[in-house]
Symmetry: D2
Subunit: 385 residues, 4 copies
């Protein structure tokens, strides 16, 4: 009975709406798959494109019950509908995150928003104030924190297993922008390389924020300062497509953060290493079910998803036993799993657990972008976050 | 509008029912996730357990619209319902596959059945006759053939890239039965080690059939003969928990097939190597997004899912761009994707494409089990399949 | 003072002679490098080819002090020389191992012989009697047992860490004979595919014996029986270039042994897996410094050469600290290290330790070849060793 | 005839001497093994320790013909000896490299010196002038450039296969100094953490110079500027044990260089990635026989040592066919191989080829250390090299 008007959400799948994500937008499909994976929600309404025909066709392809031609109309209509959506997914280019989220928050509708939070730090901070001052829930899809072994890594750091943290190395390398696709009609590339729609950071905003967030999530320490060198290797590009940074974390750990969208041959190599005084950790997104633990003076251990020897957080994030590879969609769905559980909790009058990234992480990401850009412009000087 | 009564299936998600898969049954959840992943179907009815309370609770946890206490009742009721199910999923222990499938086929309801096809070759052959003589579609979830890189492997063999096939090596190793769990209350272990419910093969039936199917799928050649050595390493076990075989394929290729459920430390290591006169292939289920191509006299190549350089079959089986790991559930969902497309095709009056395993593969699997068991009993003599 | 006539070998490098290994013979160079690596011996005399010119040129290239045109002459002359060789290296094709070794043993000169021990079991058994009845030392270069991590594997099995041994899998795959090189003037290929010079086994004798020896070395159990399927995939070849076998070890462990010289794309993939009731081991010759330990219910551990956590045997076999890869030559040199230490021991009046393969291993290897060939000819029946 | 007085070096092994490398000094053994590996040289004289007893015992253990108690005495005596050494190996702590080398160069004896070239830039530059102004040959053992696949990487860059170079990442991570071993009596650690004996750089001098040299060797581009952050993570340490740097190369490539001796669990992880506009390369010292080539839009290729498809430089650097792992010692020996060939060439009146690192690389390394230290002290500012 997913489409029923039951006010008691415990007896039905939640109803979700989506803004953006129309035909051809990879990330829209990912959001739908992730939101629905556990059978706890279903996307039933959408304003999927500013082009009415595309919006209509996209909605039909997904069997949506209601299709809108504008997100503002959608916010109003759903808010007043007896079987209106329980939450909205914002899957637009960066510069629309804020206006869209604002509209739904104003109607008290919970929001899941793609990252980065906004196209500018100022806008992001405003949105944060709005969320913090309201009742609606807000999740930011820093999806890589949904991987079971990333959660295990966080648990191991928290437990003290690594000792004092010393060196950290985080990296996100891709090659999809190694040619000027933005001048060849690729929409994804076009908005991501346009400061007006992407914000001040290119690779730094699109993937550097994921790297920074992953590092802070696992270590539980904030990046305190960056000393950055940003480059646009592809001629004519207004935003960076590559960046190298020296970084310092609260509490004394330090190291490097790199991101690149021109790293020839790299698909989506997000990787993290954390070296402590007693053990180290290494994780690679492209082989996400393995976490390497490197204890001082002992053999490396390969921790794998699904096993009983993992901590509670990692185990809770697994859907299959050991040896059944879990991938990108399942990790993404883990962000939704926490969020959906909170929506049910709130509906049942309970306090939310907020075990997923929110506006605070979003604002930190925007500050990271702003300071990395500022550091690089000043000739690679240390900038505090 | 998934629950609507629309006879035009092109405008809605298909409605699925499930038999078995109640609380605690890992494979039931996998079937639901896989069936629903693409937003093309939804499980809305079930006879999830022979225990009425478990059936009821399981159905409620999945927000099913209709819960039945017996599969026979379910088949009758759904068949007569205006918004009855479009297909049924059979996720019971092996010995029930046949009776359950028979019941739904009798009502003209399409069937997706877990493997092996049945608990005996005779029963499987009877089911095959039933399916071949009827109009309902039938899919057998040899799910590993759903991986994009397995489909690429098949395409490479078909294209002649490997030259004449020579040596083959296929293996499926696990360790979950290395202790006598069946005597410690584990239901999964209990029925899988019981000849009355599992059939004549232990590891040979449960996972050896996957290995044999994978090999035949990729090479396009049938296993012609086996010379097997089956063992029950764990004391008191009536069925094999480990098997090694010499095998011969049609056309002259030969090599080994191994399966084990007592291979300490192995999770789900299904792997395949095919050596030809011009190139070889290697694939491992636990790192499923990589296919190793080994051309004669040239460096190995690492083919990866999502890339434009892959063949059409592999590309069609990917949901995300390169570097976004696709896992077990997505591969499983690819079996459903083909089946669901066929259901829509049949409803629209078109011929089905049957691009998924069916009863023929099921009967071959049962024959493989029967002959492996017979070979071993006779002291490892060659038996033709 | 390597060339001095000092009878007290403790004060000088030992003097070695070599038979075979002339220009173009890969394995001759390997023996020299391995014998000399630790600075404990030097090759100073040789009968390096039956072609006098090649013998002379090869000897000059190595700066040998004495070059002979026949091994018989060399044995006599060195035996009577005041600064004669302390031991001889036999690096000829298989059919000459026996006659050459016999000649030097007759003069009381210690022998290091390449494997297999001889071209036939009868000949090998005769040689064994000769060695066992004499005073001269004899080493057979089953060089892969020289790797530190292979010795660690043996130590772990001996210690009981694996529990009861169950499944074993050993394999040696190459591709260098995938074309009929023997008909294209390749000398190495010519004698290896010629029954008169290689003996009754092709791949089984050349590399299958290494696989069998490695398995027995690590497990400490003898192969009790084989059920084999040998093939000559390349047309016109008199000996097998590929073999698959079911095997059984003393004490109940069983599994598969494969060897192939037509496995397209494989270089020298000798690998071993041993599964016990409490842990398993995996090792690959091509990444020889890593040994994977798979404890039941715990993460895999990557044991690496050079570490203090290894057992005494493995540590003694390492020349560099962790992270300095040790390779094929160093492993080969470890066989010589044990042998040379024994020569010094014997000279000093002490009992030899014999911590290297000898005639017993050689005879077992020949029996393995004979029974594998017999099993295959009889249609894959179990043959006891 | 290694000890003969023959002036014609083409008929004998060369005679080498060594300064330093006495009992317990790992690197001394490595130099002997590497110098002697190809049977083209033999260490016959030494001043192996400033402690006369250690010097004597070390010399005896190596069967040296002549042992000296001081390097000055050795230089004089060998120079006047009819069968004196052809070259000397300097394997002392850094601060002695210069004085020792000077002494032998003054006698016209060729020198192989461990890196870094000297303990200070000024001293290194003086030594460079001395070498450049004299006739004796000089090799600096930046041994990692001896690996076949590193030479293949250089050849691929030179050939233009990578296109325009963009991002580079080089790293050398170890953990052996993660505890204050220098305060626990470890001699190796003591001099390496002492500015008076090691020079101004800790990890930067000991291993950072290897990383910088490897990068420049492969890319053929000089590091133009560094922006560094050096740290002594272990309390009480006067020199850095960890460093992260932003770097820029001539011609526009840029990226990061990291080195650490406190990276828990890392053995000797020297690795390099070079990203160009058409392809990228990746190499890891700990698995040195594989070079990963990442062509744009095509599958990764695994290039392996020993293969006929490699370029001439790489093939010349291999001693064994594919699949016989070559390790650290063989790579080290490749530096000696080039040097020894040059000594023979010079003796034969031919011009040397100098295909090994020399004083120029040494001076660059010292400048790298000086500027990295200066950059870090100034708060991570760009310093030109």
């Amino acid at each position: 009975m997913p489409a029923s008007a039951s006010p008691d959400t415990s007896q039905r799948r939640l109803r979700a709406g989506i803004v953006g994500g129309g035909r051809g937008a990879f990330i829209g499909s990912v959001h739908r798959l992730a939101a629905e994976l556990d059978g706890q929600a279903q996307v039933i309404a959408g304003a999927m494109s500013s082009d009415p025909a595309v919006a209509r066709e996209s909605a039909a392809a997904w069997f949506l019950e209601r299709s809108y031609s504008s997100y503002a109309e959608m916010a109003r209509a759903e808010s007043g509908h007896a079987a209106g959506i329980d939450f909205v997914i914002v899957a637009t280019p960066n510069h629309l995150h804020c206006p869209v989220a604002r509209e739904f928050l104003a109607q008290g509708i919970h929001v899941v928003c793609d990252k980065p939070l906004a196209a500018s730090l100022a806008e992001g901070e405003e949105l944060a104030r709005l969320v913090d001052g309201g009742a609606a829930l807000f999740a930011l899809t820093h999806n890589y924190t949904g991987y079971p072994m990333v959660r295990e890594a966080r648990a191991l750091v928290r437990s003290g297993r690594l000792g004092e943290l010393r060196r950290v190395m985080v990296e996100y390398a891709q090659d999809w922008l190694m040619e000027p696709l933005e001048r060849a009609g690729n929409k994804q590339a076009a908005w991501r390389t346009d400061p007006a729609r992407a914000g001040p950071g290119g690779s730094v905003g699109d993937i550097g924020t994921h790297a920074a967030n992953l590092l802070e999530f696992v270590t539980g320490r904030r990046i305190e300062a960056v000393c950055a060198d940003l480059t646009a290797f592809v001629g004519g590009r207004a935003l960076d497509d590559d960046a190298s940074m020296l970084i310092r974390l609260e509490g004394g750990a330090k190291g490097t953060l790199s991101c690149s969208q021109i790293a020839c041959g790299e698909e989506n190599e997000l990787s993290l290493r954390v070296y402590g005084s007693q053990a180290a950790l290494e994780w690679h997104q492209q082989e996400p079910n393995t976490l390497i633990l490197k204890p001082a003076g002992r053999p490396w251990e390969l921790l794998r998803s699904g096993h009983a020897y993992l901590g509670a957080d990692a185990r809770a994030a697994c859907r299959t036993p050991p040896g059944h590879p879990e991938g990108y969609l399942e990790a993404f769905a883990n962000i939704y799993r926490g969020f959906i559980a909170d929506v049910r909790r709130v509906r049942a009058g309970q306090a939310p657990l907020r075990d997923y990234p929110g506006v605070a992480e979003g604002v930190r990401g925007l500050r990271f972008v702003a300071q990395a850009v500022a550091s690089s412009r000043a000739g690679s000087v240390w900038m505090r976050l």
